[in-house]
Symmetry: C2
């Protein structure tokens, strides 16, 4: 057995496959006889010394973890600031690590998490504490730098493309006497990756979605409404996919415009699809329906992408291998060598290049008219939704998702006064 | 070959499995050498003499139709009134039927369609035109009388239960620092069948969904908010499933309360989940997210129920058999003989008992506190979401849905002046 403990933590919004990464981490560490603890609710569990002993979980449970969505150990939205501003917290982390002989820290999240892992590794070095920190990629937003794509994105992308294609068949059947315009709101505050993936649902400009609105292009209401009307006139109906992050040329989020007051005078929560639906109805008079899938799009393990699932597990396995080799402050990233046939491998990349960076969607991914995706985008996105990830169902007709025991490790330190 | 033509039409909101019924109708008729025409866009196609020759579709296409959501021939929301009020339309239908030697009319829809089929059969009799009219059940609302359940409901129910379970895993993982309350809006204007089906996602009162709001119980805001707070205090987070049809004791729809004006002064479309989310945020201060799956819930063939799919096909097959036997003015209905093990069969029921009736959810299906479903409801609902219906995927990662050729039959009559 290797000396010391490996600590794994999940961070930020969870996905359909982050537990697949966790499963691979634990399975790979077990094979190498390394003890794995998990922090409950992400970095908060590490600060609170609220650690979970994964050795209490059966082999079957860890295997089932690979097809269970959500974050099995709990995740959190909790960003550590700079070493100076949050020094006490970083030092507390090191205390907890020392108390439990943590020699490898795997932080599974986005760019914030990469930044935290990097800072912890620097502080450990400064204190002379031997620690290897690894960032493990995860985000449905697909906005991590360096890596070709992010585990979690492909499955959310597949959910989006499949859902849009299915809803479009419904709309097409009913358009003669009912809904003519259907609006789908996709996640993506800063970049339109998921809305772009909806473009895979169709092949030609007349296929749904006929209109994709991305934050990468300023929202122009007159142009949008004219396009909707033109599509309805030609096709008979229109499916719109809008990224939640679309904004006007002056930088105002359309989602915020959607907020207002309800009939009781209460403040309403905003929403892009609701807003666009209102405009279409009022300005064009078409019957309109809209959907806000919200968390369904990032938790829908039942329609996960096999490519994504494979990559999530490969990233977890590589993270353990890098850790045990002492490759400090790196992240296993996905490197694409070919679109068709799709070829990828996992390679280490320095966290310095990833921490706090954000990958934007290339300008060339938009179709010239701004209402769809280009062939280049299609070539990039298509492989990411390919393949169906296996999923066992119970006799009750529901997927067999696992709930872990999550047995706490005995505390060794005074309570954290954070 | 039997004498005459069989005309099939789809009516009302489409489902994930109405095309499975259509596929079974065509396959069964082909086996019996009966020619099948389909009306384009439901009864409108029959009135307009806009008929589709299904013999132009390949065997493979009709087979693929069985796993394609939406309505392949087009459906419509178009209700014929009484024989007196809409006499000209009913007579036009008979003219079109005569012109194309239609001897069997299969109308695939809900209670309105059953009523139309019944009226057409009566008029044909009065005119001495030999016609057999069959209603074929379909509706995600599960509100048809006589039949134990309606093809389309089980798949939407399965989508709902699976989506709620998946989203709950997401919420549970993030609740410590992020969303504590998640609200899911289910279709169901008059009866809460789909919201009730969400109850299958959990077993105990602490499992998601901890709160189910049904139109069968008046919405009481104070009681709802108190319950949300109690669940958050105990479980740490709360998943609410609300039927779009919930209303206050004075009969006001909560969805209408949600409407109002946006920040530009435009009228907003209402919504139950958006409204409840606003109340939870403002009154309890919890971070809240909500989803409106809308058409996704009734078109999600990718997560269809095998039970539902089997029943949709069995109903189509039986409809043809009844038609060819001359069993006029009946509907093949699903009869349940046992909950566990689940046993069902198809039997004919007179349209008179189904037309314009509406099946309510039994009062005993609600849990005593009004925030969940009873064991009796569970026993009824559980078999309906069981089993996974086969679905082929393409190498592009999308389900292989078929688009029919829908070749029009040459018109024989003057245009309809409807």
């Amino acid at each position: 057995m290797a000396q010391g403990t490996l600590l794994y933590a999940q961070s930020g919004g969870v996905t359909a496959v982050i537990n697949a990464t966790a499963s691979a981490v634990i399975a790979e560490a077990r094979q190498r006889k390394v003890k794995v603890l998990a922090a409950r609710n992400g970095i908060l569990g590490a600060l609170r010394e609220d650690l979970i002993d994964t050795s209490k979980e059966s082999v079957a449970a860890i295997r089932a973890l690979a097809h269970t969505p959500g974050g099995a150990f709990g995740s959190c939205r909790y960003k550590l600031k700079s070493l100076d501003a949050d020094r006490a917290k970083y030092e507390r982390l090191l205390e907890v690590f020392k108390a439990h002989d943590v020699r490898w820290f795997l932080y599974n999240g986005g760019n914030d998490s990469a930044d935290t892992a990097l800072k912890v590794s620097r502080l450990a070095k400064a204190f002379g504490y031997p620690l290897t920190c690894i960032g493990v990629p995860k985000t449905i937003d697909n906005d991590l730098a360096v890596t070709d794509t992010c585990p979690g994105f492909g499955s959310a992308a597949k959910y989006t493309a499949v859902s849009v294609r299915e809803a479009a068949l419904d709309v097409a059947a009913m358009a003669e006497t009912s809904t003519k315009v259907f609006i789908y709101e996709a996640m993506g505050r800063h970049a339109g990756w998921l809305a772009a993936a909806a473009g895979l649902a169709g092949q030609s400009p007349d296929d749904a979605p006929q209109i994709v609105l991305l934050p990468e292009r300023a929202y122009d209401e007159a142009a949008f409404l004219a396009k909707v009307d033109a599509v309805v006139a030609k096709v008979g109906w229109c499916v719109v996919v809008a990224s939640e992050g679309i904004h006007t040329a002056d930088g105002r989020f359309v989602a915020d415009a959607g907020g207002g007051t309800d009939s009781f005078g209460h403040t309403q929560l905003g929403g892009v699809a609701a807003y666009l639906a209102g405009r279409v109805k009022q300005q064009l008079g078409h019957k309109v329906h809209w959907t806000l899938p919200d968390y369904l799009q990032r938790s829908a393990r039942h329609i996960a992408s096999r490519t994504d699932w494979d990559q999530a597990q490969a990233a977890g396995k590589a993270a353990v291998q890098y850790a045990l080799k002492g490759m400090n402050a790196v992240m296993p990233v996905i490197v694409r060598s070919s679109d068709a046939p799709y070829r990828w491998k996992i390679e280490p990349a320095p966290l310095e290049r990833i921490a706090n960076a954000e990958k934007k969607m290339p300008a060339g991914f938009l179709r010239k008219d701004g209402f769809g995706i280009s062939e280049r985008a299609r070539a990039y996105l298509a492989p990411l939704i390919r393949g169906e990830a296996p999923l066992p169902y119970g006799s009750d007709g529901l997927p067999k998702y696992v709930t872990l025991k999550n047995v706490a490790v005995a505390r060794k330190l005074p309570a954290w006064e954070g």
